[in-house]
Symmetry: C2
């Protein structure tokens, strides 16, 4: 397996955590988004969407972080990243998708570039934009996490899983954009519990070989 | 089952198609986004994220359209909306997530409201914004769909599934925001094949009881 990513991409960060929890160590191929390597002909031939991450498997190329993680779950079931029952899986996926489908898409590099170039926003305008959407999403996540912990250290109980895999990179972005995470004590506690695990620590952007 | 939605929401539209393909007819509860009913105390108690759709099942409330559709797939397996093999499922999910995680989040009502109120964008600025992101996403979808049809009328072959469920509402939004869909002939042909099916036709926004 070969994993194409960028150290600071939230969606690549998610996949690194999932790969680590599954005990997998694919070859890493850095794709420098700032140098626009994701728009190169070679990368577009691999992933027509021109975004990171992408995972080359023996059978074909996968893209989109949640699709990659579901594939990892199906092909490498241990340890499980989703609960064993359909309702539980739906609730974990719903939590993960609040981040992946509502928060993260609004704060990624191409969106901020467009806000600057075509909507007249300066750095402060972009930071306000990011903080607004992250705060809205984390408030929903905090309410859900407070109700779902089942006494465990992680979002949905005693084991880390898909929800935590999406939450930790999002909390990292919250810090990066200067959001006060004080209003989310449960999410902060989950983040701290996750970062104490070697698989989460090893996936941190600052520990990647392509970190600036 | 009770389904909470809004006629024009793309993610509610996706769920309506999936429910129809599965032969399910839950009670429909309209949530008027323009009247801010999704921010009411009663709705937030049901879905702390305060977005549509939400599905009340006998066991609990589900939110996020892709999580709802995966739950439908697991609890009502026939007809399948995903392929039988892990790689195939990952590729269909990846296609669906290009729309659900990259395109649609940028064009929904709350984002356009923020662009108007806080970024000084007028209607034309908002329409340009939407067309930009939809065009970028559909270009990737067209490249993938052209390679994946396997001779069938739908995105991934002879049967409609999760990819088509996400594509058709996105094509509806493309028209609504005035995007020329001429550059996406394969996607247009898939959309037409889908709309000829009664389950897709019945799910169209214009045919909902809460349509303005």
């Amino acid at each position: 397996m070969r994993f194409h990513g960028f150290f600071r991409s939230s969606s690549a960060y998610r996949c690194r955590i999932a790969l680590g929890l599954k005990g997998l160590e694919p070859e890493f191929v850095p794709v420098n988004l700032r140098a626009k390597e994701h728009r190169s002909e070679a990368y577009l031939a691999l992933n027509p969407q021109g975004l990171v991450p992408a995972l080359e498997t023996g059978e074909g190329v996968l893209f989109q972080s949640l699709a990659i993680i579901e594939w990892l779950e199906e092909t490498h079931p241990e340890p499980p990243l989703l609960p064993g029952d359909a309702l539980g899986r739906a609730r974990v996926r719903g939590f993960a998708q609040i981040i992946a489908c509502e928060v993260h898409p609004l704060q990624n590099l191409r969106v901020l570039n467009y806000l600057r170039a075509s909507c007249g926003q300066d750095q402060e305008g972009c930071d306000l934009w990011c903080r607004h959407w992250i705060a809205e999403g984390l408030a929903a996540c905090e309410a859900i996490a407070a109700a779902e912990s089942h006494g465990g250290a992680f979002t949905f109980g005693a084991r880390p899983g898909l929800a935590d895999i999406c939450l930790v990179p999002q909390m990292f972005s919250a810090d990066r954009f200067g959001l006060d995470t004080g209003p989310y004590p449960r999410l902060r506690a989950i983040r701290d519990a996750c970062e104490a695990l070697p698989e989460f620590a090893a996936a941190h952007p600052a520990r990647q070989s392509d970190a600036a």
